[in-house]
């Protein structure tokens, strides 16, 4: 018990112990912050990757996937215990035109709503909330009334412009009826410009602003450059494109055949809402439209042959599947294998080898391995690097304890002279090491918990105070730094730090224990 008594006295009264505690706390803090942020980052990537495409993905190989609806039906019938839901998806590229000036290349994704809600988390990121509540490629019903009222405003404006045109036209006609010698050329020019300007405005309003219920809807990624401005501190968006506004999409119909003569196809859509997947690379370059609309636009829809009357089936780029039961990778792989075998059987039964070229069937993790793999490796690498750096903590504690034991050599002699055993002396220093490890790691753990939980406000404060933004969502995919800290990671690091303290104190403690009392007392 005197060992604890002495250990506590040493802890309270030795500045060197404070240095060791601070060193240990910093190491624990550093490791916990890095591991937590990296783990959180990986978790976000995994969740996003999984959320985007369901559990299992059937991907087109050489050719787009035909008879997808039949296959989805077959899957549900043959694998009722495995398949919860499935939906086809089309991927393409296009040019998005918003207003008269803004143009942006986007990845155009054709999805079926609300069917996709049962498979992926796509619908969870929809905005405004009315759209999220009832996902569809249409302006939410609750907003339609307001839009129609606004359409009325536009009509009024068009009427005003039209009356200006009529008035100016009459004036112009009257002026033009005069003798050419008496005509006011300046007035004629002004009236003509007025009429042309009013016509142009009407045309713009009709093309851009008028809400047209007949047009198909489009959902745009919230970060598409130029369409929104984001307040980096609050994370709120100001959108330049309003719900109900028309946008134009230009795609190349590459679905079946592409030749030098293939012309781009333009189509106008009504903007119905934002998609906020939380991944900058996706949200800044994706536009979502109805599956059938896109299929038709890029020539992937069903096409009847005028001569034979036979219908060439529609195609899709991908079938996304939501699996029943647990979502662990082993289970998903087993289901993926069943789907692959089922496809082979389906392909063989239909006998259209060219049309049913073998697609790849992967789990979401396999599919996204190109994204997840490097981040996993990065996390492991950083963890290893910091584990190596944490060895510094061991060396630091070792150096401090060694120095302390050297400094306290005389104390060792004194303690032995008053009857302390060698084991007792060793225990004092081992306890001391563990206490430094415990106190240091607890301080480091509490500090890192506090820091990680507030990492985003701290980052925002630094950004606003010093105009220095470390975490750029354009580079790091997500708009927020991950701020979750796992208890098991804290426990692991704290235990590791305590062991490091113990290990660092081990050799000095053994040295202290072995020292002859007289040798220690003579030490200068």
């Amino acid at each position: 018990m005197y060992k604890l008594f002495l250990c506590l006295r040493y802890l309270r009264r030795r500045y060197i112990a404070m240095v060791a505690i601070i060193g240990m706390a910093l190491c624990v803090f550093m490791v916990l912050v890095v591991v937590s942020v990296m783990n959180g980052f990986l978790g976000l990537v995994e969740n996003a990757a999984k959320g985007m495409m369901g559990d299992v993905v059937v991907d087109a190989a050489a050719e787009p996937i035909a008879y997808y609806d039949e296959f989805i039906g077959l899957m549900k019938a043959k694998l009722p215990d495995d398949i919860l839901a499935a939906t086809p998806v089309i991927y393409s590229y296009g040019l998005l035109r918003i207003g008269p000036e803004y143009t942006q290349t986007v990845r155009v994704i054709g999805v079926r709503l609300p069917e996709a809600a049962a498979v992926s988390t796509f619908t969870e990121g929809l905005y405004p909330p009315q759209l999220k509540a009832s996902p569809a490629f249409a302006v939410p019903a609750s907003m339609r009334k307001e839009l129609l009222a606004r359409l009325g405003t536009y009509r009024t404006r068009i009427d005003q412009l039209q009356s200006i045109i009529n008035d100016r036209s009459e004036q112009l006609a009257a002026e033009q009826e005069k003798d050419p010698a008496r005509q006011d050329k300046w007035l004629i020019g002004t009236l003509e410009r007025n009429i042309a300007n009013a016509n142009s405005q009407i045309s713009s309003i009709r093309r851009l602003y008028g809400y047209d219920e007949e047009l198909p809807g489009i959902i745009l990624g919230v970060d598409i450059p130029g369409t929104t401005v984001r307040d980096e501190v609050s994370g709120s968006y100001t959108r330049y494109v309003e719900v109900g506004q028309k946008v134009q999409l230009m795609v190349i119909p590459t679905g079946r055949t592409v030749t030098a003569l293939t012309e781009p196809v333009k189509k106008r859509f009504t903007f119905v809402g934002d998609s906020r997947m939380g991944i900058y690379q996706i949200d800044s370059g994706s536009a979502y439209v109805d599956f059938d609309t896109l299929a038709e636009l890029i020539d992937l829809g069903p096409r009847p042959d005028a001569d034979t009357g036979q219908v060439d089936p529609g195609r899709c780029s991908q079938i996304q599947i939501k699996v029943k039961g647990t979502d662990n990778e082993t289970h998903l792989r087993a289901v993926a294998e069943k789907v692959r075998l089922l496809w082979e059987q389906f392909s063989a039964d239909r006998g259209e080898a060219d049309l049913l070229a073998r697609p790849t069937v992967q789990t979401w993790r396999e599919k996204q391995s190109q994204y997840i793999g490097p981040i996993e490796k990065q996390r492991d690498l950083v963890t290893i690097m910091f584990a190596i750096i944490s060895l510094v903590a061991v060396v630091l504690v070792f150096a401090i304890f060694y120095m302390m034991v050297v400094q306290k050599t005389k104390d060792i002699g004194i303690l032995k002279s008053i009857g302390a055993s060698s084991g007792g002396v060793a225990v004092i220093y081992l306890m001391y090491g563990s206490a430094v490890g415990l106190v240091g790691s607890v301080i480091g753990a509490v500090g890192s918990y506090w820091f990680v939980r507030r990492i985003n406000p701290i980052h925002d404060w630094i950004a606003t105070t010093f105009s220095w933004r470390v975490f750029d969502r354009r580079a790091y995919l997500f708009d927020q730094i991950p701020n979750t800290i796992q208890l098991e990671v804290i426990a692991g690091v704290v235990v590791g730090a305590m062991l490091a303290g113990l290990l660092g104190a081990m050799l000095p403690a053994v040295r202290a224990a072995r020292m002859q009392p007289v040798e220690a007392l003579r030490y200068e």
Partner: protein, 230 residues
């Protein structure tokens, strides 16, 4: 019970100093009676302190035998030697050797607590505190209990060291030049304290000194010259 408290027989001890062996004790034979006040006198480097360290089980002789209170100390294990140092032997050093992190009271009571386990700690700690307070009061340090060694005078430090040496009521008190660092008046005080316990409690006192006048206070003086008793 034998009348002999310390029996040193043919003790040799040498140290390696660089490349040469320094033969400090050369066949020392010494017997100290129970309750005797023995002074070991001799010039610096004559081996007085080494002899005291051997008797106090702080060092092992190269050759020879040692008996304390009739018990052989030659074959004792390290823990048994520690136990003997704890309960049977008290040490007073020239340079006090107090623990700088502890205050006066803790420095004294720690000596009684080194052999106490967790379960006996509370009772033993209270007892140690009582004993330490009593001793320190007796030694005139009642108002210095919370002071740390660096805040005390040399004489006060030595009195703390004496209190620490006596708290376990050892059979043998070994004092190595206890007044060597003190002025003559303070040295005289310290000597009278040591003599007081020797007389009152019957503790065997072995005092090592190079000061002839100090040695003359002992019941018996032995002189050590070049590692041998004259």
């Amino acid at each position: 019970m034998s009348d002999v408290m310390i029996d040193v027989a043919n003790v040799h001890k040498s140290y390696r100093m660089g490349r040469t062996d320094l033969h400090v004790l050369r066949g020392v034979r010494l017997t100290v009676r129970r309750g005797e006040f023995l002074a070991v006198a001799g010039a610096s480097g004559s081996g007085k302190s080494t002899l005291l360290h051997v008797i106090g089980l702080l060092d092992r002789p190269d050759k020879g035998t040692l008996h304390i209170n009739g018990e052989s100390a030659d074959d004792l294990s390290a823990s048994a030697r520690a136990r003997m140092r704890r309960y049977d032997i008290g040490f007073v050093f020239q340079f006090y050797h107090l623990l700088g992190e502890l205050n006066v009271l803790d420095n004294v009571q720690i000596a009684q607590m080194t052999g106490t386990g967790v379960f006996r700690w509370p009772g033993r700690a209270r007892q140690a505190r009582r004993d330490a307070l009593k001793l320190l009061e007796m030694l005139g340090l009642g108002d210095r209990l919370k002071h740390r060694p660096k805040d005390l005078s040399g004489g006060e430090r030595q009195r703390v060291a004496i209190a620490r040496a006596l708290i376990n009521r050892p059979k043998v008190l070994l004092a190595d030049e206890p007044t060597g660092n003190l002025d003559s008046a303070t040295g005289g005080e310290i000597l009278s304290v040591l003599k007081h316990f020797n007389t009152k409690d019957g503790q065997t006192l072995v005092l090592v000194t190079h000061d002839q006048r100090l040695a003359e206070n002992a019941d018996r003086i032995v002189r050590l010259t070049d590692g041998k008793l004259a």
